[in-house]
């Protein structure tokens, strides 16, 4: 049974045309999903009435995975097979990951090509993308149950400061689940949407988003439905996890543990640190009991421990204000997002930095998913009259390697997307016929300080004297913030185009393999089911139409109309057993259009008949 939702005026969907969309916040610590139902964005609950899904995946020897709270409980007992904070590994190379902390409670396998490291588990090597896909699958199926049907698309949020590789990895994870990604949306922008639409915030607002593994700060101008991001900044490897780590480190020192901790002890310390942190949001000291050591952590000491981390976020705030060409006093409102903003010191220091009390009206854990749900509802087409518009920016500059190992910026950070920019280069040797193009992302001048995204070669340049050939390299960043690069020799028209697949991402072959392995059979089942449903619909439609023609056709239709519809019946008949979903759905649509007028006339007749049974008096009395 399909349960109905209230639509906007004139937007009631036709049967089987209901468009379902959800917003997913794939977080470092917790993930959640929200959707707009009857015009109201709501987080979707699981069977236990929980909306937060711990972003933890556990694998067993049978290659089965458990996601969420059940997996979370096994973190310290089965550390090597239970993956948490996977988001911090997305689109990262082993060097980046080593920077996150000296010890990791995992075994990692490095890739020969310098790609993302995999986790070594009993189920074999698991990439961070695959583990993220497991989390997404749970949320997608939760939404499909809650919305009563297949999702037409999702808006997936990413930290605003995520670079190309991290964004691409996130999109790849969604590809593995088979769900359509309507848009990658920056988390702070999503939060602004939730505040702007629900709380009517206007003016210049700063979104301070301190999550489990990432920190973002965005400054937006909100005016009559337009959300224009002026600047964004942050640190994609700074979050609550780091707070836990410094606290765990302190416990370890106090308890006199050696530096070489076992994975399960590391996990135990981290989990105790997290609990202590949470308790210190409420009280001024907390008792700690971990691995045989007992002690007390006061909020004062805690604040001292984490102060450098909080200062780091404030440094980002300063920079973003400067990029936006604004002063702290220009900000109308500061919005707090992310679990780490529950920490006392964070709230206090942010209030001081912006000279105003930050807004916390919407739960900082929910706000991103709610904003994403609003955008998803819009993009899927459920609110054609809504004038909301999001204008977002690219967080990090994009450019090319030039001579001397320097990076030349083509698109500067904080440029509004989508954007296309091109730059002309020339050959530097006589008779040069090829040119290599090295695409980079980052703010620093030396290429070794920037992230290498891709290298490709433009061949077939006509041999000319040095400096005569004109090579145009175009960068195109789409509305998801993803990059496409092409190079063209202008005189000969030789062209080379690549979708930038960052070195740290997965290549298409990997994705194809994973698709087949992890989800091939499920996808087949789903497609088969959808096809069967379509066949049933086509048959039903054929029977309905045939019955209607028999009953009223001669009476209500001209001869031409009648034979047209007979043809429609025949077409449906032919198509009923087709194995092509698209073919059937196309025919159903065509038949539906063809019979619209007939249906309307039949309805008028039946209204007349129905009204003949009632008098107007009856109707009024009945009301």
């Amino acid at each position: 049974m399909v349960l109905l939702q209230i639509s906007e005026p004139g937007q009631s969907p036709s049967p089987h045309q209901r468009r379902r969309a959800a917003g997913i916040d794939l977080g470092t610590t917790n993930s959640l999903v929200a959707s707009v139902r009857s015009g109201t964005p709501e987080v979707l609950l699981d069977a236990d009435n929980q909306y937060l899904l711990p972003s933890v995946v556990r694998y067993n020897a049978l290659k089965e995975s458990t996601v969420g709270y059940a997996a979370y409980l096994q973190l310290s007992t089965d550390p090597l097979n239970t993956l948490s904070s996977v988001k911090r590994f997305m689109g990262r190379g082993i060097q980046d990951i080593k920077k996150l902390g000296s010890q990791m409670p995992y075994e990692l396998t490095t890739q020969v090509d310098g790609g993302m490291p995999n986790f070594k588990t009993v189920a074999g090597d698991v990439s961070p993308v695959e583990a993220s896909a497991e989390i997404l699958k749970v949320l997608v199926s939760r939404s499909e149950e809650a919305l009563g049907g297949t999702l037409d698309g999702v808006v997936l949020t990413v930290p605003a400061y995520f670079d190309e590789a991290q964004r691409q990895a996130t999109k790849d994870a969604a590809t593995l689940t088979g769900v359509k990604v309507l848009r990658l949306l920056n988390e702070p922008t999503a939060a602004a949407v939730a505040y702007g639409l629900d709380q009517g915030a206007e003016g210049i607002i700063a979104i301070y988003d301190f999550g489990g593994g990432t920190f973002d700060v965005s400054i937006l101008r909100l005016s009559s439905g337009v959300f224009q991001v002026l600047a964004t900044g942050g640190d994609s490897s700074l979050g609550g996890d780091d707070i836990d780590r410094v606290v765990a480190q302190w416990f370890s020192e106090k308890a006199g543990f050696s530096d070489d901790l076992s994975p399960s002890l590391q996990r135990e310390l981290l989990m105790s640190a997290r609990i202590a942190k949470e308790e210190l949001s409420e009280s001024i000291f907390t008792e700690v009991n971990v691995a045989g050591w007992t002690g007390v952590l006061s909020r004062e000491k805690f604040n001292l421990l984490i102060n450098p981390l909080v200062d780091k976020t404030l440094g980002c705030c300063k920079r973003v204000l400067r990029d936006a060409k604004l002063k702290a006093s220009d900000i109308t409102n500061v919005v707090m997002v992310g679990g780490s903003t529950r920490t006392h010191l964070v709230r206090q220091k942010v209030a001081d930095a912006f000279h105003r009390e930050p807004l916390v009206n919407i739960d900082p854990d929910k706000v991103v998913a709610l904003g994403a749900a609003i955008q998803a509802d819009l993009l899927v087409g459920n609110k054609p009259d809504e004038d909301m518009l999001l204008l977002d920016v690219i967080p990090l500059s994009l450019g090319l390697e030039t001579m001397g190992g320097l990076m030349e910026k083509i698109i500067h950070r904080n440029t509004t997307i989508p954007i296309i920019k091109s730059q002309e280069f020339t050959t530097f040797k006589d008779g040069q016929t090829a040119m290599s193009v090295h695409v980079l992302q980052g703010e620093r001048e030396l290429i070794s300080d920037c992230r290498s995204l891709a290298r490709f070669e433009l061949r077939g340049i006509p041999p000319l004297v040095a400096g005569a050939a004109k090579i145009q390299v175009s960068f195109q960043v789409d509305a998801d913030g993803l990059l496409n690069v092409s190079a063209k020799e202008l005189a000969s028209g030789v062209e080379s185009r690549i979708e930038v697949k960052p070195s740290y991402g997965l290549n298409d072959k990997d994705i194809a393999r994973m698709l087949q392995e992890s989800y091939g059979s499920a996808k087949e089942d789903m497609l088969a089911r959808a096809l069967r449903e379509q066949q049933v619909d086509a048959r039903r439609m054929r029977e309905d139409l045939l019955a209607a023609l028999k009953k009223d056709g001669r009476e209500l239709l001209s001869d031409t109309e009648y034979s047209c519809l007979e043809l429609t019946v025949r077409d449906l008949d032919k198509i009923c057993d087709s194995q092509s979903y698209r073919e059937i759905s196309h025919q159903i649509e065509a038949a539906s259009k063809a019979s619209e007028e007939f249906a309307a006339r039949r309805m008028n007749v039946s209204i007349k008949k129905a009204l003949a049974g009632h008098s107007l008096d009856d109707m009024e009395r009945g009301i």
């Binding site: 049974m1 399909v2 349960l3 109905l4 939702q5 209230i6 639509s7 906007e8 005026p9 004139g10 937007q11 009631s12 036709s14 049967p15 089987h16 209901r18 139902r37 009857s38 015009g39 109201t40 979707l44 609950l45 699981d46 069977a47 939760r142 149950e145 809650a146 919305l147 009563g148 629900d198 049933v536 039903r540 439609m541 309905d544 139409l545 019955a547 209607a548 159903i588 038949a591 539906s592 259009k593 019979s595 619209e596 007939f598 249906a599 309307a600 039949r602 309805m603 039946s606 209204i607 129905a610 009204l611 009632h614 009856d618 109707m619 009024e620 009945g622 009301i623």
Partner: protein, 107 residues
């Protein structure tokens, strides 16, 4: 006969209208869909039509156009939860036959 709402439906209608921030009530109706079926209309109302029939149920107002009324007389609008799924349901005594999922029906 009449058109009514269960308390659960009324509560949700009021909640959604409040969240939307504008609108005078919701519209119940039917429309033709493709071949010979009908399907339900459930929409917010910003401006009612003069010919609309109005049912007040507590704080919520229902608007029904006279053409649709013939098909909806006796209907009770309910709000139900089935597992994780939740939404409105038309309990309509006029329905003789409906498609498997209940999205289109005949009278």
């Amino acid at each position: 006969m009449a058109i009514t709402m269960t308390p659960a439906a009324e509560q949700h209608v009021v909640k959604h209208l409040a969240h939307r921030g504008h609108g005078v009530g919701i519209r119940l109706g039917v429309k033709t869909t493709g071949c010979s079926g009908l399907s339900y209309v459930l929409e917010f109302v910003d401006k009612s039509d003069q010919s609309d029939l109005v049912v007040a149920s507590g704080e919520a107002k229902l608007f029904i156009d006279p053409k649709s009324f013939a098909f909806l007389d006796g209907t009770q609008l309910d709000f139900v939860k089935e597992g994780l799924n939740e939404g409105f349901e038309f309990k309509n005594p006029n329905v003789k036959d409906e498609c498997g999922c209940g999205e289109s029906f005949h009278v």
